[in-house]
C-alpha cells in the first residue's frame, strides 16, 4: 500500500477552513431545491405576508385585474431566482412577457426560458415537461383571460405534478381559478397611481396585496406596496 503524502493529516482541517471561508456562497451537492425551500419576492412586506415566500413543490396563485401589480410581482420572483444563478421558466399563454421591462426589474434574461404557448393545452403540457426536468427554481404560468373557465378542472392535476419536484409553480390570472388546489393564493388590486414631477411622469403605483388562502397559515392579512417604474419602462 502506498504511503500518504506528508500533509495528508492537515487536509481535513484545510478543507474545513475552506468551507468556513466560503461560507454561504458554497452550495453542496444534493437536490437543486431542498423540500422546504421557498422563493422570495425580494419585497419585504410581501415575503412577510407569505411567511417567507412561495413554497417549493407547491402550486400558488397570484390574481388580480389589470394594473394590480401581479406582473411586477412575477418579475420580482424571476429576479430573485435568476440573481442567485438559478434558472426559471415562464410559460406564457397570454404572450405578455416584456423582456425590456423584465431586464429593468433585475431579471437575468439569459437564465429565463420563455415558452410562448399558443393555447392552454400546450401550456399545461409545457408545464408538465418543465416540472419533470427538475432543476428550475421557478415556473411561472401566465394565463390568458379566455382560459379561466377551463383551468379549475386541471388545478388539482397541476398541484399533483408540482408536488415532490421542489419547484414552485406560480400561476398568474385575472381572477382566482385554482380553488383549493393552490397552496397559497394572493389577490392584488391597485389603490392609487401617482403622477408628478416636471415633466409629469408616472412616479409609482400603490397596490394592496391580500393573502386570501394559505394552506398552512392564517389568511386574510393584507399589506401595501408601492411599485416604481424602471428606467426601461
Amino acid at each position: 500500500m502506498s504511503r500518504l503524502p506528508p500533509n495528508a493529516a492537515r487536509s481535513p482541517q484545510a478543507v474545513a477552513k475552506l468551507l468556513r471561508d466560503l461560507g454561504p456562497q458554497l452550495r453542496r451537492g444534493g437536490d437543486a431545491t431542498p423540500p422546504d425551500a421557498r422563493i422570495r419576492t425580494g419585497i419585504e412586506a410581501i415575503d412577510r405576508l407569505l411567511g417567507g415566500g412561495f413554497p417549493g413543490g407547491r402550486l400558488s396563485e397570484i390574481a388580480g385585474p389589470f394594473s394590480c401589480g401581479r406582473t411586477s410581482l412575477a418579475h420580482a420572483l424571476l429576479a430573485e431566482a435568476t440573481r442567485s444563478g438559478a434558472v426559471a421558466a415562464v410559460v406564457d399563454v397570454a404572450d405578455a412577457f416584456d423582456p425590456v421591462s423584465a431586464e429593468g426589474s433585475g431579471v437575468d434574461l439569459s437564465r429565463v426560458l420563455w415558452v410562448r404557448a399558443p393555447q392552454l393545452r400546450a401550456a399545461l403540457r409545457s408545464v408538465e415537461q418543465l416540472l419533470a426536468v427538475r432543476g428550475f427554481a421557478l415556473v411561472l404560468l401566465d394565463l390568458a383571460r379566455a382560459d379561466l373557465r377551463v383551468v379549475p378542472t386541471t388545478g388539482l392535476r397541476l398541484a399533483r405534478l408540482t408536488a415532490g419536484t421542489g419547484t414552485p409553480l406560480v400561476a398568474l390570472s385575472l381572477q382566482r381559478c385554482l380553488g383549493t388546489a393552490a397552496e397559497i393564493a394572493i389577490e392584488l388590486k391597485s389603490t392609487r397611481a401617482n403622477f408628478g414631477g416636471s415633466p409629469v411622469l408616472l412616479e409609482n403605483l400603490e397596490v394592496e396585496v391580500a393573502l386570501v388562502r394559505h394552506r398552512s397559515a392564517p389568511s386574510g392579512h393584507t399589506t401595501s406596496v408601492r411599485l416604481h417604474p424602471t428606467r426601461a419602462a
Partner: protein, 513 residues
C-alpha cells in the same frame, strides 16, 4: 506502441444494405438484382434463396423458375452508401481513427470493409478479442452483420477477416504470429489480379505458405513486381499510411422507394425507419441529432429540400419524427415521392460543468429532451431565452437559444442586469399586449380625454406624455412613428396608450401591472 489495425468486413453489402432497411425480409428468399426486369443479373442471394438453388449472376427469370415466392429487390446505391457509412460509424464508436476502404473488384466486389486504428484500445477492453467482439456487437446494432479481425496492418487484418465464415466471428492475429497465420491461407485472400492468379496456379502455388517458401528475388524476376507486392502484404511489410482521424460529423440515411408515395401516412413509416437508423448511428458515435435536412426525390424528377430546426440536440425519435411530420403537414410535397434522404450534422451532447457557487440547474440531457418536446408543442420559434433587441421599436425583442451554462472558455463574463435603481424600491413592470389592442380615444386639447377598449375603459383621470418614437424611415415597410402616453383611466387601469401616426389609429400596447 505496436500498430494494431482492426478490420470490420461485410462480405455481401448489397444484400445487407437491403435487409438493413427492410428487416422484415430477413427470412424470405431474397435476391438483389442489378436492374429491374426479368433479364437483370442477380448480384446477391440470401441464404433462404440459395437453398432453392438460386445463384449469383443468374437472371431474375431463371431464379423465379427455381423459387416461386422469390422476393426481388433492385440494388439501391442510396441504401448501400448509407450502410457503408454505418459501417464506418461502427468503427468510429471505438476509435476516432477509422476509414472506409475503397470498393474492391473481382471476387470481392460485394464486400465492404472499414479499418480502425486499434493501437492502445486494449486498455479499454478486456482484451483484443474483447475489442473485436464489441465492434461486432456494435455493428450488429446498426444492422450490419460483420466479421472482425485484428492484425498488425490493414492487409493482414483484411486477410484474416476474409477467412471468417459467419457473421459475428472474430479473429485476432497476435503480434509475431503473422507468418504462421497466413501460411495456410489460400492465395485468393491476397487479392491478386486474374493474370497473376492464373500464373501462380500454373506454377502449383495455392497457399500463401507456398509463395513465401520460394526465393523472393527469383520470383520477382520471373513473375514481375506484382508478386513482390503480394509477398510484402503477406509478410506484413507493406508500407501503409496511418489511419487518419475522421473529421466529419455529417450523417445521412437515404432510401429509394419501391413505388411513389403521395400520402403522408405511408411516408411516416419511411421516415420513422430512416430516423431510427440515423439515431442508432449517432448514438454509436456519441453524438446527438441537431438540425435535420429532409430531401424528397419527386416522381417528376425534381427535388424538395426542407430544413427542420431542432430546439436542442436530441436522440428522441418521437420528437424528431413529430418535427418532420409538422414540416410536411404545413406544406405537402408538390408531387409523389420516390426517394427520401435525411441528413444531419451530429452535435456533441450538452454537458455542464458543475459550479460550486450556483444552484444546480436542470440536467443537460433532460433539458435538451424537454426543449425538443416544447418545440413540438409550441413551435421552435416560440421557445428560448428572451433578449432585448438593439432596436427603437417599443416591443422589440429577440428569442435566443436557451443555454444557461456558465461562462465558456474564451468568452467574456456576461454583465449582470442593471436591475432597479434602488433595491428597496420594487419595480413596476409592463405587461405587453400582443398584438396591440385598438382603442377608441376622444381627444381634447391635444391629449386623450377618454378611452374605450378591451383593456382600459373610461375617462382619463391622469396622464403623462406624449413622447414621440420614430424609426425605420428608410423603407415604407419598416417605418414607424408613435406618440405615446401613460394614462390612468377611471376603471383604475394604468396603460401605455399610443397614437400610430403611420396607421392613424389609437392603440394600447402595454399595461403597467
Amino acid at each position: 506502441m505496436r500498430t494494431r489495425i482492426a478490420c470490420l468486413r461485410v462480405p455481401d453489402m448489397p444484400l445487407v444494405a437491403t435487409l438493413r432497411a427492410h428487416p422484415e425480409l430477413a427470412d424470405e428468399p431474397l435476391v438483389i438484382a442489378a436492374a429491374a426486369g426479368p433479364r437483370a443479373e442477380i448480384v446477391a442471394v440470401s441464404p433462404a434463396a440459395a437453398r432453392h438453388g438460386v445463384q449469383s449472376r443468374a437472371s431474375v427469370a431463371h431464379a423465379r423458375a427455381l423459387c416461386a415466392n422469390l422476393c426481388v429487390r433492385v440494388a439501391s446505391p442510396a441504401l448501400e452508401q448509407a450502410a457503408r457509412s454505418a459501417l464506418l460509424d461502427a468503427a468510429l464508436s471505438c476509435s476516432p481513427r477509422a476509414e472506409i476502404a475503397a470498393r474492391a473488384s473481382g471476387a470481392w466486389a460485394s464486400e465492404a470493409t472499414a479499418y480502425l486504428d486499434a493501437s492502445g484500445l486494449d486498455a479499454l477492453f478486456p482484451s483484443e478479442a474483447g475489442l473485436a467482439a464489441a465492434l461486432a456487437a456494435r455493428a450488429g446494432k446498426l444492422g450490419l452483420p460483420v466479421g472482425v479481425a485484428l492484425a498488425a496492418s490493414r492487409s493482414l487484418a483484411r486477410i484474416a477477416a476474409r477467412q471468417l465464415r459467419r457473421p459475428g466471428e472474430v479473429c485476432v492475429v497476435p503480434p509475431g504470429d503473422e507468418a504462421p497465420f497466413v501460411a495456410p491461407q489460400p492465395l485468393d485472400l491476397l487479392d491478386p489480379d486474374d493474370v497473376l492468379a492464373e500464373r501462380l496456379t500454373h506454377f502449383g502455388l495455392h497457399t500463401v505458405g507456398d509463395l513465401l517458401a520460394l526465393p523472393r528475388r527469383e520470383l520477382g524476376s520471373r513473375l514481375g513486381p506484382d508478386v513482390l507486392r503480394l509477398i510484402a502484404v503477406a509478410c506484413g511489410e507493406a508500407r501503409e499510411a496511418p489511419v487518419p482521424v475522421f473529421q466529419t460529423r455529417a450523417l445521412s440515411e437515404a432510401i429509394d422507394l419501391e413505388y411513389a408515395i403521395d400520402r403522408l401516412e405511408p411516408l411516416r413509416f419511411v421516415l420513422r425507419g430512416l430516423l431510427s437508423r440515423l439515431l442508432d448511428r449517432l448514438e454509436a458515435r456519441h453524438l446527438a441529432c441537431g438540425e435535420l435536412t429532409l430531401g424528397l426525390a419527386l416522381a417528376s424528377g425534381g427535388r424538395d429540400v426542407r430544413r427542420v430546426a431542432v430546439a436542442a440536440p436530441t436522440l428522441e425519435l418521437r420528437v424528431l419524427l413529430q418535427h418532420l411530420l409538422q414540416v410536411l403537414e404545413t406544406r405537402s410535397p408538390p408531387d409523389a415521392v420516390v426517394g427520401v434522404q435525411l441528413e444531419t450534422e451530429g452535435s456533441a451532447p450538452r454537458s455542464d460543468q458543475l459550479d460550486l457557487f450556483r444552484p444546480a440547474g436542470p440536467a443537460p440531457a433532460a433539458l435538451g429532451r424537454a426543449l425538443a418536446e416544447l418545440a413540438v408543442l409550441c413551435g421552435s420559434d416560440r421557445i428560448g431565452a428572451p433578449a432585448v433587441a438593439d432596436d427603437h421599436r417599443p416591443d422589440a425583442f429577440g428569442l435566443g437559444h436557451f443555454q444557461p451554462t456558465g461562462v465558456g472558455p474564451g468568452t467574456a463574463k456576461p454583465q449582470p442586469p442593471a436591475g432597479p435603481e434602488d433595491p428597496q424600491r420594487p419595480s413596476l413592470a409592463l405587461r405587453a399586449l400582443r398584438p396591440p389592442v385598438t382603442a377608441a380615444v376622444r381627444v381634447s386639447q391635444g391629449r386623450p380625454d377618454s378611452v374605450r377598449s378591451a383593456v382600459a375603459n373610461g375617462r382619463v383621470v391622469r396622464w403623462a406624455g406624449p413622447w414621440r418614437t420614430t424609426g425605420g424611415w428608410w423603407t415604407p415597410e419598416e417605418r414607424f412613428a408613435y406618440d405615446c402616453f401613460d394614462v390612468q383611466t377611471s376603471d383604475g387601469t394604468v396603460s401605455r396608450l399610443r397614437f400610430d401616426r403611420v396607421q392613424r389609429v389609437w392603440q394600447i400596447d402595454a399595461v403597467y401591472d
